[in-house]
Subunit: 216 residues, 4 copies
DNA sequence: GATGAATGAGACTTCATTCAT
DNA sequence: GATGAATGAAGTCTCATTCAT
C-alpha cells in the first residue's frame, strides 16, 4: 500500500512551479500548499517560512542545473557545438515547457533590492552558468574574450526569455540560441584567430560537428 | 504664496521610481504616497487604484522613451554609429543612475501571467524599441536580418541589465552596448570579413557612413 | 440668461431620491452631489454634514406630506371614501413612480437604533399620517377604534410597500389600499354600528361615494 | 479539556443579532467578530466575505422559520385559531425580545436595489410565510381570497414591526396580531360566507377553538 | 458659492505564521 | 506529520469632512 507522502522535495518542486509563474510576493503559502496537496500550515513542518522555502527552492534549482545542465559543458566527449546544442535543447525544454520562463531571472529582478540572500544565491547560479559557457567558448576565444562572450550569451538568452514572456512568442529563445551558435561557429572558423593548436583542434572539431550534427 | 500642488505627473514620477525598485506587488500605495508627500488615500483622487497607476506609469515611461530615446534612431543627421552611441549613453544614464534597472522588464516578468493589460503595454514599448534599432540596423543588414539583430540587441541589453542587478556590477550594460556596436561595425565593414584589422575597416566604414549618410 | 443655481431645495430633492433608493449609510455625499450637479465639497456650503442633510430631507418630506397629502383628510368638501381614494392615488403615485418605496420606512428601519434624531422626526411623520387617517375613520368608528384602524392601515400600507420592494411587484400597494377601503366601506355600512346621526351620515355618504366612484 | 471552538453557526447567530440591529452597511466585520469573540480576520476562515455571511445568515434564519414557525400552519392537530395564536406568540417572542425587529424586512428594504442575491432569498422567506398563512386562511376563505388575506396579514405585521421600531412601542405588533385574528374569526363566523361544508366545518371549528383556547 | 485636492479614520480583505488537536 | 482555527499586521480602497483658491 504505497502511502502518498509529501516530503520536502515535493514541496520544493511545487514551489518551483508556482514561484516561477507568480513571482515571490504574489505567491501565497496557500498557493504552494494547494499545489502539493497540503494545507497552508503544514508547510511549516518542513520549512521555517516563505523566505526559507524560496531559498531552498533556489538552491534546489541551482543544484539541478549544476548536475543536469551545466555539467554538459565539461563533458569532453562532446564537441563545443554539440555542447551548445545540448544546452540549447535543455534550456528550451525547461523555459518553454512550463509557464513562467526562468525562475532565477524572475525572482532575481523582483527581489534584487530587498532580499540580499536571494540575490547572492541567484548570482551564484548565473556565475556557474557563465563559467560553463566560458569553458566552451575558451575553445574559440582567448580567456578574457571567452568570459565576455559567455556573459553576452547568458544575457541574450535571459533577455530572449523575457521577450518570450512579454510577446507570448516562443521563437525568441530559439533564435537567441541559434545566434549564439552562429557566433561560435564563425569564431571557430574565423581566420583572425591566432594559429594555435587550440584553433586547429577547434577547426577539426567543427568539421566533425558538422558531419555529426544533423541539426546544424 | 504658491502652494505646492502635487499633480498626476508628480505621482507618476514617484511611482516610476518605487515600482522600478520594488516591483508591482511589493510596492504599497503608502510607499508611493510617501514618495510624493501625500497620504495613502490622496492618491485615489488622481488614479482609480494601484493597477490604474501602474498602467499610467507604463504609458508615461513609454511616451518618454518614444520622445527622448527611440526618436534618436530616426534622426537622420546622425550616422548609424552615432545613433547607437547616443542610445547607449542614454540607456546607461537611465538604467544605471537609479536603482532598479528597467521598469518594463521588471514589471513585465513579475506580472506577465496575471496582468494582461500590463503585458500588452509593455510589449508595445519593446516593439517600438526593437523597431527603432531595426531602422538603424537596416543600414547594414537586409530587412529580415535587421529585425533579428534588433531583437538580439534588445534581449542582450535587457539580459545585461538583469545581470547588473543580480551582480551589482554596472559594467554588464556597457559591455553589452559595446558588443552590439562592434557587431554593427563589423556588419558595416562588408559581407566579406576582412582578414585585416576589423577596426580599421570599421573606421573606414564610419567615415563613409558619415559622408554618405545625409540621406540614409 | 437664466443661470442655473443650485440651492438647498435642489440638494434636498436630490437627497430624497438617493436616500430613498440607497438608504442612509450606503449613499455617499458624492452620490448626492452628482445627483444635483455639484461636487462633494460644495454640499457643505448648505448643510453641516450628512446627518444634517438627512434631517432636513426628512423634514422637507414631512412638510410636503402635511401640505399635499395629509391635508386631504381634513378637506371636508370630500366624503370619507373620496378622501381615501385621493390618499391612495397620491400614495401610489409617490411610492410607485420612483424607485425605493418609502424613505421614512427605509431610513426609519435602517437607523432606528443609532440615530435617535432621525427616529423622532420619522415618528412625527407617521403620527401625523395616522392622525389624518384616524380623522377619516372617526366617521365610521368610535375614537379608540378609529385610532387603531388608522394604525393598522398605515402598517398595512408600509408592509405592502416593503413587499413591493422585495417582490418587485407593484400590485401589493394597490391591493392594500383596496383592502383598507373595503374595510372602511364595510364599517360604514355595518349593522353593528350604533345608530347615531354620524353613522347615518356615513351611510348616506357611502352611497354617494359608490355612485360617484366608478372604480369601486 | 474541550476547547471552546467557534464554528459557523456561532458566527451566524452573532451576525443575526448584529445585522438585525445595525443593518447591513452599518455593521462591520469587526462588530460581528467582537460579537462572537474573534478577531476580524478570523471570520474569513468560515465565510468568503461580508456578503456571503449575510447570505448565509438569511438562509439560516429562513431555515429556522421554516422548521420552527411556518410549520405550525401545517400542524393539523391544531385549529386555525390555535395556529394563529401560536404563530403570533412566537412572532412576538422573536420580534420583541431582541432589538431590531425583523432582519428580513430591515435588510430587504436597505438592500433591495443593490443586492439582488439578498432580495431573492428574502422574497423566498416572505413567500413561505405568506403561503403558510394562506394555508390557514384557506379554511375560511376561497383560495384567491385566502392568498390576499395572507398577504395583507404579512404586510400588516411587518408594518407593525416597523412602527414598533420607530415608536419604541411594542404594542403595535400585538394589536396587529389581534386584528388579524379578529378578521379570521369574523370570516369563520361570517354569515356572508357561502354555506358549504367547508364553512360549516370552519364554524364548528371556531367554536371548538373558543372552547379550547383559554388565552383568547 | 463652488471647487477639488487633501486628510485621516476606518472599512473589507489577505496572508504569513502559530499552535492545540 | 498534518490540520485548520486563530491571529495580527498590513494592504487596498472609501468616504465624510476641511480648506485654500
Amino acid at each position: 500500500m504505497p502511502v502518498k507522502k509529501v516530503d520536502k522535495r515535493d514541496i520544493i518542486k511545487a514551489s518551483l512551479k508556482v514561484f516561477r509563474q507568480k513571482g515571490y510576493h504574489s505567491t501565497t503559502m496557500s498557493d504552494i500548499a494547494a499545489a502539493c496537496g497540503l494545507l497552508k500550515g503544514s508547510i511549516y513542518h518542513h520549512f521555517e517560512g516563505k523566505e526559507d522555502l524560496m531559498l531552498q527552492t533556489i538552491d534546489f534549482l541551482h543544484a539541478y542545473y549544476s548536475r543536469e545542465v551545466f555539467s554538459i559543458a565539461y563533458d569532453e566527449s562532446l564537441t563545443g557545438l554539440e555542447k551548445l546544442d545540448r544546452l540549447a535543447a535543455i534550456s528550451e525544454d525547461i523555459f518553454m515547457k512550463e509557464k513562467g520562463g526562468c525562475l532565477m531571472a524572475n525572482i532575481g529582478l523582483e527581489t534584487a533590492n530587498d532580499y540580499p540572500r536571494f540575490r547572492v544565491r541567484i548570482k551564484a547560479y548565473f556565475e556557474e552558468w557563465i563559467q560553463s559557457l566560458e569553458h566552451i567558448f575558451g575553445q574559440a576565444y582567448e580567456a578574457e574574450k571567452a568570459r565576455e562572450i559567455a556573459e553576452f550569451s547568458v544575457a541574450e538568452i535571459e533577455g530572449a526569455v523575457m521577450l518570450m514572456q512579454v510577446y507570448h512568442d516562443k521563437r525568441y529563445l530559439e533564435r537567441a540560441h541559434r545566434h549564439i551558435k552562429n557566433q561560435f561557429m564563425a569564431a571557430l572558423a574565423g581566420p583572425e584567430m591566432p594559429a594555435t593548436g587550440k584553433v586547429n583542434g577547434a577547426k577539426t572539431q567543427i568539421k566533425r560537428s558538422i558531419a555529426e550534427n544533423k541539426e546544424i
